[in-house]
């Protein structure tokens, strides 16, 4: 056993594309495992919305950047004797490797638990890894560098066609492509050599199967593979972008075990102690394979494998790090067997990614070798059809399953050959048009087995469509439809021809189906496919079975909590924290907590968190199924974000007991019209707005309130298609786009206040009386989505008058809506006016933030209220808090090629962090450094391109400070003139489109600039083009970028006046 008492764990920081909630799961499990062993744990993670940064998980928590600089400071303060690097994604791993290379770990005598750092380095370095694999006779996808066409042809003689040609040293895949013969190779190589003196030739594995194994090894050299997974999408599509199934479906036993034994061989040779992921390409025409990648840490795939099998990979990996053998760790599910085994599944899971590409300007929708998805779902069924249809609904992007959708694909063949996030919809349309499985396979390279299974779903739709009415569906056909994962909604839509509300149709199907005795059953996930008895509470629902695995108590002592579904822009780990906090409180109060959720990247879907976990859909149909089986005390809909919130009214109408705020009140807050009328009657101001369906009315309304205006569709969380328009032209353009939206939802036009402050209140009320609240303010002016804004709590710069009025309005609203539970109101404050812009009768994104800053769990109190306990008001006001919390947003623009990294009314951030400081600027500096900013290098310069006259003024002091600190300032023309006029010297850089030098782009690409302040000025084409180029180049060359003048100014103040060296290294509990 490792002799260590104090262990440092590195978290993964903010959620970003490629590094999401899965590391909250893995870190939380590891910390729990370490505590079980009596170890003292220290966590560094600035992601305040996570479960792992909550009380009771680690002994000490630092909300600080996971960078070598800060980690060293924590090491000096805490003197840990060991460190875990494998539980915080690539962020923690990179930081750990850097600490090792800098000699810091050695200097402070800190032992790395689990896989040694050298082994990690061997897997991270492509050359070293390929060499190592070659030595042990394992084939890798290796590329060969060549300097001329003859060399290229020679290489191909060895590796065979088809090959991929890549130009070395270029960004964005210039000059790359596939070649199937000498002619194509000559042509492409010639072009590639024009970009680069060297090209890389690689065997093309396009269309091969992509297979993954999760391997665990202990210090005694025992190896197991916990799970294998098969990508539905062929190689060429990143595994994070692929639909993934577990276990593999199309591999023979020979192939399964061939790849399994190679994975074990690799893991032994690398020297893993803990968990490792091995990715393969497998030839669909033979058993030839290539190793693509090895991840010597917990990964997104391992989180998925963990949820797919019920095997607690992260907890086991942590214990192996402490020196246990696999034979010594109990199987957490069966309790009677050991962790040294390989789970047997008697179900199939499907992982489906969730994209939000529609939220970004300019980004390509094609999916390929880089990851763009922001979240994922996992669905469980006993047939592929059942699982995939569940999953497509879970993703929440307008699909009701594989069939019954109204998605249109402009060019079907193009879509099938060039997949996007709509490819599954395209396949169904292709079946409708008579495409065969063979033809689709030729176009998509998706294995025929998957396509045939999808066609089964399609063929059943045709059978259903033949039924003239519900009563004409034969019992056997209806059962078959349910076994293939059809929802009542889908069946209703296909069969019931009357023009009635589809939700009503679904309920009719439900009634008819129940009359025929067609009901789902509950099955357990027990890791051993029923071979041994297991006391597992990990459940899913299926129609492919006749018997329930569990009994139901019906004692009124259980409470259902609805989870938050797939992470997406606008709804992320913060709601998982809320759900877990509710579950904990429910259990504390002596009830059994039942969680329904389907997001594999969460802590709420760890079966040891709750009394029962239904890993299943958050739809009316499924929640009713579970409600009818469990007959609980009630359902909590207010801790899971917008998905449960939207279900509230539907559930209420079906007689479900919604705990807390009445469903009618939720509807009143959600429905713009009703809410507005309520505000009017209470004398509460809102920005003027109108819901309009006629273009003419829109123009006359705009004439009335004046430009700019905000236009958006109703009933969406983060306002897709929402934008501010500043001119008549823009309005016309926007309306052209909105026309598509207005058929289903009218366009909402709202007056837009410029330079208004945005303020939020997070509160909890009991029967309309506020019991606790927190008021925070945004650094940016309104116009930046509240999910992208930098939020300060307690608010530091509000008038007392404003605060008093916020409290008064909130009281009125709480009372009128008879709120019992969490809620959030957003205000615009300008001069002496205060207007309400949004009100949500549910926990908001900032609940974990304010709960952790105040050290008072808002959700805990809300849950007590929802379960009927009388609570005392929380005594402290924010004036009592003598420190400041600042929440910053994390953007993932680097992953989204060509996307314009500019902020607007639509949310674009993928995650957030929050840090605590003794004052506002210290907290802001920590927070900004935690989302990837860095103190600009003095040997380089700062580029300022300060936009409109107002933002130029906003940045004047900041520019002066930079100059005084000794930074070299670069500026674009207008900005330079303005600075000069104010006595600040700067070097002019020309706009990208002038072609003149010195040009901004050259300075950026030559890394002469280490911070870019680019404030968009107006929406003219030239401004947009030039601004976009500057912003995009900054992102592509990894140069920190700020596009908001208020934030830039505050940040520069913090950099110049506080400085990193003066930041205090204090854990949460010392504030």
């Amino acid at each position: 056993m490792e002799d260590c008492k104090k262990i440092l764990v590195l978290g993964s920081g903010a959620l970003k594309i490629g590094e999401s909630g899965e590391f909250d799961y893995s870190g939380s499990q590891a910390l729990k495992a370490l505590r079980e062993e009596g170890k003292f744990t220290i966590l560094i993670n600035p992601n305040i919305a996570t479960v792992q940064t909550s009380e009771g998980i680690a002994d000490v928590i630092y909300y600080l950047p996971v960078t070598p600089e800060f980690v060293e400071k924590v090491i000096i303060k805490e003197k840990p004797d060991a460190i875990l690097l494998a539980f915080g994604g690539q962020t923690a791993l990179n930081c750990g490797v850097a600490l090792h290379k800098m000699g810091i770990l050695k200097k402070y005598n800190i032992k790395v638990l689990g896989t040694p750092v050298e082994a990690i380095i061997n897997t991270e370095d492509r050359e070293l890894f390929a060499e190592m694999m070659h030595k042990i006779g394992v084939k890798t996808a290796k590329s060969v560098a060549v300097n001329n066409i003859d060399e290229a042809l020679k290489v191909v003689r060895e590796i065979g066609y088809p090959v991929i040609v890549r130009a070395a040293y270029t960004l964005g895949g210039l000059g790359s492509g596939f070649c199937a013969n000498d002619d194509e190779l000559r042509r492409l190589a010639e072009s590639a050599f024009s970009y680069s003196p060297q090209i890389l030739i690689e065997k093309s594995l396009k269309g091969w199967k992509e297979i993954e194994y999760e391997v665990v090894r202990d210090r005694y050299d025992n190896c197991i593979t916990v799970c294998n997974m098969e990508n539905f999408d062929p190689l060429g599509i990143h595994t994070g972008e692929s639909v993934v199934v577990a276990p593999s479906q199309t591999l023979s036993d020979h192939e399964y075990h061939l790849l399994r034994s190679i994975a074990i061989k690799i893991v032994r040779n690398v020297g893993i102690v803990g968990e490792c992921n091995v990715q393969y390409a497998l030839d669909p025409e033979s058993d030839d394979y290539r190793v693509i990648e090895v991840n010597a840490r917990l990964s997104r795939s391992s989180a998925l494998a963990s949820k797919a099998t019920g095997y607690p990979l992260a907890a086991v990996a942590a214990k192996l790090g402490l020196g246990y053998g696999l034979d010594e760790i109990p199987n957490a599910v069966t309790k009677v067997t050991k962790a040294c085994f390989e789970p047997a599944l008697d179900y199939v899971v499907c992982k489906i990614p969730r994209w939000d590409l529609g939220k970004f300007e300019g980004v390509s929708k094609l999916i390929g070798s880089s990851m763009k998805s922001v979240g994922e779902v996992m669905s469980i069924g006993r047939t592929f059809e059942e699982a995939i249809q569940k999953g497509l609904r879970m993703v929440g992007q307008g699909m009701h399953g594989f069939t019954g959708n109204t998605i249109t694909i402009p060019d079907l063949d193009f879509e099938l050959n060039n997949p996007t996030d709509k490819r599954l919809a395209a396949i169904e349309i292709a079946f409708d048009r008579g495409y065969t499985v063979d033809r689709l396979h030729d176009m998509t390279k998706i294995d025929k087995w998957f396509l045939a299974r999808l066609e089964n779903i399609h063929l059943l739709k045709l059978e259903l469509a033949k039924c003239a009415s519900l009563e004409q569906i034969p019992q056997a056909l209806l059962l078959e439809a349910k076994q293939m994962g059809y929802s009542d909604y889908q069946i209703g839509k296909i069969v019931i021809k009357d023009n009635i509300d589809p939700h009503k149709k679904a309920l009719e199907v439900r009634k008819y189906r129940q009359k025929l005795g067609i009901k789902p059953v509950v099955k357990q996930i027990d890791t051993l496919a029923g071979e041994y008895p297991a006391q597992t509470n990990y459940l899913y629902i299926t129609y492919n079975g006749t018997e329930n695995d569990v009994d139901f108590n019906h004692d009124g002592k259980s409470v259902i909590v609805l989870g938050s579904g797939a992470y997406r822009i606008g709804s992320s780990v913060e709601f998982d924290w809320c759900g877990v906090a509710a579950v904990k409180k429910i259990q504390e109060m002596g009830y059994r907590a039942i969680m329904i959720n389907y997001n594999p990247e969460t802590v709420s879907t760890d079966y040891d968190i709750c009394d029962r976990l239904f890993f299943d859909e958050l739809t009316l149909e499924r929640v009713l199924d579970i409600y009818e089986m469990e007959q609980p005390k009630g359902v909590i809909v207010s801790t899971g974000g917008q998905i449960p919130n939207n279900l509230a009214l539907l559930l209420d109408k079906q007689g479900v007991n919604i705990l807390g705020t009445p469903a009618k009140s939720i509807d009143m807050a959600e429905d713009r019209q009703k809410f507005s009328e309520m505000c009017d009657s209470l004398g509460i101001d809102q920005p003027r707005w109108k819901e309009l369906t006629d273009i003419k009315d829109i123009y006359s309304f705009v004439d009335e309130v004046g430009l700019p205006v905000l236009i958006r569709p109703s009933y969406v969380l983060s306002g897709a298609a929402m934008r501010v328009v500043e001119s008549r032209d823009e309005l016309e353009n926007a309306l052209k786009n909105a026309a598509v939206v207005s058929q289903e939802h009218p366009v909402v036009v709202t007056e837009f206040l410029q330079r208004a402050k945005e303020v939020e209140i997070d509160a909890v009320a009991q029967r309309g009386v506020i019991k606790c609240y927190a008021i925070s303010e945004h650094i940016e002016y309104a116009g930046v989505h509240s999910g992208d804004a930098t939020v300060v709590f307690p608010a530091q710069k509000l008038y007392y008058e404003t605060i008093r009025r916020i409290k008064k309005i909130s009281k009125q609203i709480a009372q009128t809506l008879n709120i019992s539970g969490p809620f959030n109101i957003q205000f615009l404050a300008k001069d002496n006016s205060l207007r309400v812009i949004e009100c949500n009768l549910r926990a908001s994104r900032s609940f974990p933030f304010v709960s952790k800053i105040t050290k008072f769990n808002f959700i805990g109190m809300a849950t007590e209220i929802m379960l009927g306990k009388e609570v005392e008001p929380y005594g402290k006001t924010f004036a009592d808090i003598d420190y400041v919390g600042v929440k910053s947003s994390q953007f993932s623009f680097a992953r989204l090629l060509k996307a314009d990294p500019v902020l607007g009314v639509d949310m674009a951030s993928t995650g957030e962090v929050a840090c605590i400081g003794d004052n506002y600027h210290a907290a802001l500096l920590k927070s900004m450094l935690s989302v990837g900013h860095r103190i600009p290098d003095k040997n380089k310069g700062v580029l300022i391109s300060s936009g409109s006259a107002k933002s130029k003024v906003d940045l004047l002091d900041a520019s002066r400070m930079l100059k005084a600190k000794g930074y070299k300032l670069y500026a674009t023309g207008g900005t330079a003139d303005f600075l000069a006029a104010n006595g600040i010297e700067s070097e002019v850089l020309h706009w990208p489109d002038t072609g003149k030098s010195p040009n901004v782009i050259d300075y950026l690409s030559n890394h002469k600039i280490d911070l870019v302040i680019n404030i968009p000025k107006n929406n003219t084409a030239r401004e947009l083009e030039n601004g976009h180029k500057i912003r995009r180049t900054a992102i592509d060359f990894n140069i920190p970028l700020i596009t908001n003048a208020r934030l830039a100014s505050a940040y520069i103040y913090s950099v110049c006046q506080i400085g990193v060296e003066n930041l205090k290294i204090k854990p949460w509990n010392e504030y």
Binding site: P247, T337, A344, A452, T546
Partner: protein, 358 residues
């Protein structure tokens, strides 16, 4: 698809749909939890007389390969035919996909006149069988009822063992293979070494044969039925020529040494069974398929436990303390299943080398 009824000895009935041959059959119901390997399992002679229930719900996904042979041994099948009496699954993949598949699972079952039914809640069935141990069952077509059948009353080994003597390979070291229902992959694993294998029937008296190593194969049913084989092994134990046994072979070796066997409450039928070398932390994941086990307490003093099952502590192999005799309850030849313990064949081979060059 035609309807069929699965009847259990406890009186319960399940309705399924036929995708294989349509005839009523009876047998012993057994489940296995492996997620791959149905062509291997169906041709495994150890399943003789049994109605097989894979717990993985979708079966038939990758079709069935052809029966091409190398060195007289089928490339993909574990014997020359489907051995089990019937197959009961949850969901059938009529449309299969694999580069080396030649036919669908349903067509293959029809070819060998073996029924296959789908649409059964195999998890519910598995839980029931787990609690009852094994149970008799029958599949009824067109109300053509037949009596239940307990295969363990028959000498199954005699039914599946080879009738002829066959030689494989032309290597230096001579292996005498006692075929009690041997899986072909045992041959394939041995043939990777410099050996010649002489395969003989289960009751063949081999003691005067010229061989360097004795191999006792796997096979179906109750080891107590193989008294003849046990008598022959007893004689071999008096000598020093290396012996290796697998599964039923393990039990027969134990019986010959003087230990006893018993029927397990929960049989082991999966690819994920962990076995431990006693006194160490060394574990292996193994493929298993057995309902009987050696009673550890009855192992004679000149023998020792070689492996134990990490889940339930039952015996997984024995070894003679001085002589080169060992056997395993699990299947180092895998097929189907993990290949982590294939090195045991090398150990057997090395024992032969040592013996011959002593």
């Amino acid at each position: 698809m035609k309807k069929a009824i699965l009847k259990l000895a406890d009186g319960s009935e399940y309705e399924g749909l036929s995708f294989g041959y349509e005839k009523s059959v009876a047998g012993e119901l057994v489940f296995y939890t492996a997620m791959t390997g149905y062509p291997e399992s169906l041709t495994d002679p150890s399943y003789k007389g049994q109605i097989l229930i894979p717990t993985y719900p979708m079966i038939g996904n990758y079709g069935v390969p052809g029966d091409e042979k190398t060195n007289g041994v089928s490339n993909f099948y574990e014997s020359d035919k489907i051995q089990c009496s019937a197959l009961v699954i949850s969901n059938y993949s009529e449309r299969y996909s694999h580069w080396d598949s030649k036919k669908s699972l349903g067509d293959w079952l029809k070819e060998w006149q073996v029924p296959g039914i789908c649409g059964i809640d195999t998890r519910a069935l598995t839980k029931k069988l787990r609690e009852y141990g094994s149970m008799s069952g029958k599949i009824i077509f067109d109300n053509e009822d037949i009596p239940f059948y307990d295969p363990n009353q028959d000498n199954l080994v005699a039914m599946v063992s080879t009738k002829d003597i066959t030689t494989y390979g032309s290597g230096k070291y001579k292996v005498l293979m006692v075929d009690c229902g041997m899986k072909n992959n045992i041959l394939r694993c041995l043939l990777k070494h410099d050996v010649t294998i002489k395969r003989v029937p289960w009751n063949y008296d081999f003691i005067n044969e010229d061989y360097d190593g004795l191999f006792i194969s796997n096979g179906p049913g109750d080891p107590a039925k193989c008294t003849e084989t046990v008598e022959h092994i007893k004689k071999a134990l008096k000598e020093d020529r290396p012996i290796m046994g697998i599964c039923l072979g393990n039990q027969l070796l134990a019986l010959a040494a003087g230990a006893t066997t018993y029927k397990l409450k929960y049989g082991h039928r999966s690819h994920n069974q962990p076995v431990l070398i006693p006194g160490t932390h060394r574990c292996f994941i193994t493929s298993q398929n057995h309902g009987y086990a050696i009673d550890d307490k009855t192992i004679p003093s000149d023998w020792e436990t070689m492996f134990i099952n990490l889940n339930d502590g039952t015996n997984e192999g024995i070894r003679h303390k001085e002589k080169p005799f060992f056997s395993t309850q699990f299947h180092p030849e895998a097929s189907s299943g993990p290949v982590d313990t294939e090195s045991l064949f090398a150990e057997f081979f090395n024992n032969m080398v040592k013996y011959k060059n002593r």
